[in-house]
């Protein structure tokens, strides 16, 4: 018997318990910018961005995984931000390669739309449209050495967010 049949054969249905449905009663009063500060991202205006990163690279489909490793600053578009935790939803369509937001040294994301919390975020996402997507909240970090927070573990060393209306 295959492992599949063996495993499924061992699983007896248990007493039925209903799925609780959509979560109701989530708080709404979250501040996206405050959450971004908590997760270690900075928010700048578009003119400030020009000053800080004049030589940044924009989305470019010709960049492959390995050539992206050479990129200092990459700018991409986020689909929306989540106010409760500063996360930004990104899909592979907005990136030159799936590894892009991880492998570049510094990341810039443009955000136009903000939803209050994760429940609204998944409502916004609806059906799956991309082969790969992620919530990204701040720069890469670790606290694996004595619980001291270090920014810039394997992914981008900094995250700069431009909120464009």
């Amino acid at each position: 018997m295959s492992a599949r049949d063996q495993i499924l054969g061992k699983i007896e249905p248990l007493e039925p318990i209903k799925h609780p449905g959509a979560f109701q009663g989530a708080s709404e009063d979250f501040d996206f910018q405050a959450s971004l500060a908590v997760v270690g991202a900075r928010v700048v205006t578009s003119s400030e961005l020009e000053e800080i990163f004049p030589g940044r690279r924009r989305y470019d489909k010709t960049l492959d995984g390995l050539s992206l490793a050479e990129i200092e600053v990459l700018e991409i578009d986020g689909e929306f931000g989540v106010a409760e935790n500063g996360a930004i939803w990104l899909t592979e369509e907005a990136m030159p390669h799936r590894v892009a937001p991880f492998i570049c040294q510094h990341l810039v994301i443009n955000v136009k739309k903000i939803v209050p919390h994760m429940h609204a975020a998944y409502e916004e996402l609806g059906k799956v449209k991309s082969g790969f997507g992620l919530f990204l909240a701040g720069p890469s970090k670790t606290a694996d050495i004595e619980q001291s927070l270090v920014i810039g573990a394997h992914g981008a060393r900094s995250l700069t967010v431009v909120i464009r209306s």
Binding site: V82, E92, F102, E146, A153
Partner: protein, 447 residues
């Protein structure tokens, strides 16, 4: 193998380090409290998550098949493994087909459970663990001591010395920033070169056939997106029904784990990228047995946040290695006896049954009750630690016989030194109060 109490004795022999470990984990627990208390809906979310998990376990077979069908339609190759040996053989065959000799792996407690690294090493394949904490313990030939903070038993001096030996960092440099940078450079080379990447799975969604992997460092993504072949390894209990269910789990997970609002990266893998091979291995390894036992099935609801570790007064003062299992702490102590009763019979006793674990658990697992159930089962099976069995029998006998209780009490009051023997662990490293001259009953009679 040392029992939990023997290993703990070694751990606490360094009092300063024990205090540091205790306080640091308590600090993480406090961060969890702060993060949860700002959400008035926190308790409602725990209840909601618990119900989703109950519902899923009640229909696990259906959801697994739904997940499988969707994942296959998405172009993901789905494998089933009944036990650790099968799991390891599947992973090896995928790597062998690629011909790789060195591969990268992000955090996966399940591969620890299966001892995958040792197995692959025996086949000539070198696994590079890419989570910083896991890389540190891998260099030291140790196991992770905590499922979220693998190197929490180490101080920065230890890490400095380990990196000096393995990465050639200057001797004596123990700056976390500097050491993390050294690891970043070292592991980047492996990410760019590796053709196969293994990751764990936090959630697998039946509705969509996608799986979600959460990290703070970005190591799972660096590996998976650069490799030609991505192998994701998961226990069958990681299934959740709907995509929208992720909202409540992602809100709970990081807040419970470290007090963060969300992990830095919550990646949703739905389809392989163009030209990539993506595999998922679904492992049983005793989970169906656990599911069939009403007393213990709830342990399968776990989302591996480690909040129960951080709050546990025993874990904080005994360290993860004393549990001699890949998953330590309160949850490990109720999972491990299911896999091997005899070898893990000491673990359900490594608890005060204070119930703090159950109070912080984001999916409301009755952890402390299950510890107590295991104690009963192990006693019945004659597997409980010998000292405990004799002590408990003596205690039961004494409490059931008032006369003996009274005589015993007066004897022990007069010769309290009798209690302070090597047979009585309560006297180790504790200042015990003086025994009063008379019992309550004697005093009462005299009035």
């Amino acid at each position: 193998m040392l029992s939990h109490s023997e290993a703990s004795e070694k751990f606490i022999s360094d009092a300063e380090r024990t205090d540091w470990h205790d306080e640091t984990l308590w600090f993480v627990r406090a961060k969890r409290d702060k993060a949860s208390k700002v959400l008035p809906e926190w308790e409602a979310m725990r209840e909601h998550a618990s119900q989703i998990k109950d519902h899923t376990l009640a229909n696990l077979g259906e959801y697994l098949q739904a997940f499988e069908a969707k994942a296959i339609a998405n172009g993901i190759k789905v494998h089933w493994a009944a036990d650790a040996a099968e799991h390891n053989a599947i992973v090896h065959s995928i790597i062998a087909a690629q011909g790789s000799k060195t591969i990268v792996k992000s955090k996966s407690m399940l591969t620890e459970e299966c001892h995958l690294n040792d197995y692959l090493a025996s086949k000539g394949i070198d696994v590079v663990d890419t989570d910083l904490g896991e890389r540190i313990v891998q260099f030291r030939n140790e196991a992770p001591s905590h499922i979220v903070l693998p190197a929490i038993h180490l101080k920065k001096e230890d890490v400095g010395e380990t990196f000096h030996q393995h990465l050639g960092t200057p001797k004596g440099n123990k700056d976390p920033q500097f050491l993390t940078e050294a690891a970043r450079q070292h592991l980047r080379g492996h990410f760019l070169a590796s053709e196969v990447a293994i990751t764990g799975v936090n959630f697998a969604v039946a509705e969509t056939g996608e799986f979600v992997v959460c990290t703070n460092e970005g190591n799972a993504d660096m590996g998976a997106h650069l490799a030609k072949v991505h192998i994701a390894c998961t226990g069958i209990e990681k299934i959740i029904p709907k995509r929208a269910d992720l909202a409540v789990f992602l809100r709970l997970l990081a807040r419970s784990a470290t007090g963060q609002l969300i992990t830095t990266y919550s990646s949703h893998f739905h389809k392989p990228r163009e030209g990539q091979e993506m595999h998922i291995v679904l492992l049983d390894n005793g989970r169906t047995r656990q599911l069939a036992d009403p007393k213990y099935k709830n342990s399968l609801k776990c989302i591996r946040c480690a909040a129960c570790f951080n709050t546990c007064p025993v874990y904080r003062r005994s360290g993860g290695h004393s549990y001699h299992q890949p998953v330590a702490g309160p949850i490990g102590s109720i999972l491990a006896p299911n896999i091997d009763k005899k070898a893990n019979a000491d673990l359900p006793f490594a608890s005060t049954l204070c119930g703090s674990c159950s109070n912080v658990c984001p999916v409301k697992i009755n952890i402390h009750e299950q510890l107590w159930f295991w104690r009963q089962d192990l006693m019945e099976a004659g597997l409980a630690p010998a000292g405990k069995t004799i002590g408990m029998k003596l205690m039961a006998f004494t409490l059931a016989n008032p006369a003996i209780y009274r005589i015993g009490g007066s004897l022990l009051r007069r010769f309290s030194a009798l209690l302070n023997t090597s047979l009585n662990p309560w006297y180790k490293q504790r200042e015990m109060p003086e025994a009063p001259k008379e019992s309550f009953q004697e005093w009462y009679k005299k009035r």
